[in-house]
Amino acid sequence: MISSVTFEKTTWNKLPYKFEAGTPDIAGAIGLGAAIDYVSGLGLEAIAAHEHDLLAYATKALQDVPGLRLVGTAKEKASVLSFLFGDVHPHDIGTILDRQGIAIRTGHHCAQPLMRRLGIAATARASLAFYNRRQDIDALVEGLHEVQEVFG
């Protein structure tokens, strides 16, 4: 912002106001507060326990799918499962799952050097959070059968 403007001269306000023109992101700040309240209400430890359970369940379920290979199996990891499925390209997996209401991410995940290091072009990736349930993982496995059907 400015502190004063005339036809001859503009004087900028001091920092940080100089860079904070216009209406601040009030709704954003209120939204962030509500989100923090919500997550605190659930409890970070409860969320971690739930995600850990989902991860263990999903890891087992996906490992049991013939032709599926998990990429990234560190002992301590977040509830994220990257995988390859036969020779089906991850984008094709994503589209077919999407049609069944299952949202995953596909591609190189902004990690191209890692993909090159692993010798793969892309992966499919399911990310689990506190709002997911075991049924969602069952649906994912079911959805992968449909992928198999299309690409037989």
Partner: protein, 151 residues
């Protein structure tokens, strides 16, 4: 399986995606261009052997999903022995069919095998997969060979 999915993944698409035709660099290629789809990592290098105004030979290499590989494969099969002008005209028609769907003036049935790409229209997130090879073709025909990006 939904009918849209069936339209997208027709047998011809699966077949060309798995066994792409004209895969590789043709002998005597004198034009090439690279196309990339940076968000998904699809990459194609297209090679042309131009003799005057005629595409004597055409081939491609690269990596991508079934849609992008099938589109490139079908494109190369359709363009052999065609003139530059015919290739440009085909680009326009295919592009219109894929991006405009039923609003397009192009009747997919007039495009022969390329008609299988008409199902892509129902999947906006996949349109770029199907058009990558075609945009790369344009760059190769221009002679500039400037890398093409879909973003």
């Amino acid at each position: 399986m939904s009918s849209e999915l069936r339209d997208l993944y027709q047998e011809v698409i699966i077949d060309h995606g798995r066994k792409p035709r004209n895969f590789g660099k043709p002998e005597g290629a004198n034009r090439n261009a690279e196309g990339i789809n940076p968000l998904c990592g699809d990459q194609i290098t297209l090679y042309l052997k131009l003799s005057g105004d005629v595409i004597e030979d055409i081939g491609f290499q690269g990596n991508g999903c079934a849609i992008s590989k099938a589109s490139a494969s079908l494109m190369t099969a359709a363009l052999k022995k065609k003139t530059k002008a015919e290739a440009e005209a085909l680009f326009e028609r295919v592009h219109s069919m894929i991006s405009e769907g039923p609003r397009s003036k192009v009747d997919p049935q007039e495009l022969g095998k390329l008609a299988v790409l008409s199902g892509v229209w129902e999947f906006p997130s996949r349109v770029k997969c199907a058009t990558l090879a075609w945009h790369t073709l344009r760059s190769a025909l221009d002679g500039a060979g400037a890398p093409v990006s879909t973003e």
